[in-house]
Symmetry: D2
Subunit: 250 residues, 4 copies
Amino acid sequence: MNDWLRTGIGASDADSITLMGRDLANDLMGKVTLTELTFLLVQKRMPSEQETRLLDAVLVSLADHGLTPTVLAARLTYTGAPEAIQGAIAAGLLGAGSVFLGVVEDTARFLDEIIAGESDPAAAVAALVESGRRVPGLGHPVHKVEDPRTPRIYAIAEETGLLGDHLRTLRQVAEAHAEQTGRKLPINGAGVAGAALADLGFRPELLRGLALLTRTAGLLGHLAEEREQPIGMELYREVDERARYEPPAV
Amino acid sequence: MNDWLRTGIGASDADSITLMGRDLANDLMGKVTLTELTFLLVQKRMPSEQETRLLDAVLVSLADHGLTPTVLAARLTYTGAPEAIQGAIAAGLLGAGSVFLGVVEDTARFLDEIIAGESDPAAAVAALVESGRRVPGLGHPVHKVEDPRTPRIYAIAEETGLLGDHLRTLRQVAEAHAEQTGRKLPINGAGVAGAALADLGFRPELLRGLALLTRTAGLLGHLAEEREQPIGMELYREVDERARYEPPAV
Amino acid sequence: MNDWLRTGIGASDADSITLMGRDLANDLMGKVTLTELTFLLVQKRMPSEQETRLLDAVLVSLADHGLTPTVLAARLTYTGAPEAIQGAIAAGLLGAGSVFLGVVEDTARFLDEIIAGESDPAAAVAALVESGRRVPGLGHPVHKVEDPRTPRIYAIAEETGLLGDHLRTLRQVAEAHAEQTGRKLPINGAGVAGAALADLGFRPELLRGLALLTRTAGLLGHLAEEREQPIGMELYREVDERARYEPPAV
Amino acid sequence: MNDWLRTGIGASDADSITLMGRDLANDLMGKVTLTELTFLLVQKRMPSEQETRLLDAVLVSLADHGLTPTVLAARLTYTGAPEAIQGAIAAGLLGAGSVFLGVVEDTARFLDEIIAGESDPAAAVAALVESGRRVPGLGHPVHKVEDPRTPRIYAIAEETGLLGDHLRTLRQVAEAHAEQTGRKLPINGAGVAGAALADLGFRPELLRGLALLTRTAGLLGHLAEEREQPIGMELYREVDERARYEPPAV
């Protein structure tokens, strides 16, 4: 035994398995949900019932958005390698970068800066508006007036007593933006999720990870559907038939 | 509107988001857990309270096993690309193949064959034993007498009234093996998980997917730890220092 | 220094880097091509000029097939995470499983069995035909009469004196199939690639890996194009617009 | 035929396959190497013999660095899922992010800014030195005096007449740094590769992709070795045995 590598997550011996300092079989199995276990694994403490309720609501809100690019990538990958479902899920997670799930994280970081006192909502918004950049967490291509997830998260945060600095500041940001531009943009579902997760104590670097967890559930649904009602080959055939080949000059 | 691609999972318009035929904001958020949503996405119906309890117990049992090869792959990947956490998680899932998580699926398929009447437990075990192959779901390198997860899953299945054909047959398989070989092997945690998930109505092809969902939660814990207390570079340095270079003859 | 881990691939110290027993800077850089290095890394010896020519021809033949499912998966992943190109490439490789690149490997294994004397071409074909299964390496959905890659690989194998047992047996297999069924199927590009790689001394388990190497080159071409002339979002929009939502009964 | 999706890379019909406007079988197979094809796919023109020589030298220089974190991730992934080699290769690529292969790209971008006239070498170095940041492309943890790849790339670039603005500017950067700090740092292999690839006309966003191509070759070597002489399980066992479990307080 030396000091080479240390971990606080799990260990096992002949008779028992320990996870986060708890006996897996007796203290966790049958007593906590996957959502509670996730909170414990990341934050190193058990969540309260209220925290679990808000976290579940946020995870449920982010699970799936239909046949998005990342879902299509997973289903097309499954078409080629159905025997290796881990590859299809991995492919479906790999597109969760700056363009798609980045907003969850970007919103939390933006709010963190305001909360840390580096700026106030109005000034932070003004700086973005002036430079022609988007305000993280505002606007949605489909839900132009209101993203239905947003009032629901705020309501649950109120009910659970967990409406904290991030959710509050995000509202001020939206109001400041409407005042400054005369154009009311909705707080989008990714933004409200980022604010709520930050209020739940998760660090910005891990927010995308939480989104990936729930996206994995969504991908399972899509791969179950792809088995029964495949669209991957159909999509490929349509692309192959309709794509126009314009080779470079030789 | 034509018949090109069909999906039953999700859709959205300006005012609402629908998931599995439910209104996401009003019928799912705040009302179902991630575990319940996963059941709904894969099985197309809401689970009962009892089913949710057993499913959560199985998912919790599979979430993490310490610094396993797949966890090490994820943490080493994070070392090189911390800005792309989706890549580290994907890397941690890609090793969940035939050697590691395959047992969950293999056990369910093996039990399916017996239940379908293609064989009986004693004959199915005898065929494997004679040909020198392992019986799926039996034996564990660390838990040589009893895997602590196994009696717990059986107890919860009893309590919830969900102890079905797969779990029952798995017990018969273990008994037949002990009789035939004179050597009592424990039912392992992966095997009991496969049997319980099959009793919950999940098809064998998706069992590995459910295991990947809960492994994603485990990986989040490890990546949160890697941020604070990194071991990736340390592990690399030790390997680099101690590995012996034996080049091929030139 | 102990016997813990051994590797024959690479090592370095303050002044030099060694790869496969050669000095990287002086013996390999500027002297060997990527193709030659790949042969050396896998087979532990330098290829002859003739072997390199055949290997390059096979790799070039497998590099790209237009907007296939794996390419679409890579481009859709890039759409979401352009900052992490490694993720888009990984996604593009993950669909190279049993359905797509599997034929390269399957053909080599099938020929190996015949060459090992377990069967002769006519009997091996008859067994597949009777059971209604496809003969690995024969037939193509687009190139119904002749796959243009096939005669080219045979010609280069002749020219280089490397037409070996696998390529010869594959021809006998095609002839046996035509005789037995009265239907002439072309030897496809994946099959001829598998036979040629096996004649070059590569083991079946690594053939898919060689195909993945050259697919990575193809993916680079597609990602370079996606940067300048993106199709990922366009494809998503079309799917989103035209897909029909048929939710499960609630 | 409409204007939906366009591609210039590949297409095929019953009799022929076209790649980058060339006939695959007759104009490319047997006539170009994988390296030349890669240049063609990314830059849309065939390279000269000299360009190919420099590109091959750079690719060879980046192929492998022994048992690095990304290689370990690939070998550990292979341990769990040997039947899905595409997953092990993908895992080995996913760690090629900001910490490891990022330097190739960072160096090219840094040199681009100087060449574009936004700064001169001395001023650009001074800005970094003052703010305590590292100069991209300088310094190496093992090759403290000279990275053996660097003089070799410069020599080949001279011989081929391809020593361009990026390689020249990188040398000025190294000299400016030595003058300003009194400490001579070597130009490292990743930095010189980035400069040479940029001089060959590749855009910074794709440099990491080229490095991933050649890393795939390196990974194939490691996976071939892992099959014959596995280290994955051995590494796991050592970690499992020696890691110290320090659970969080409950």
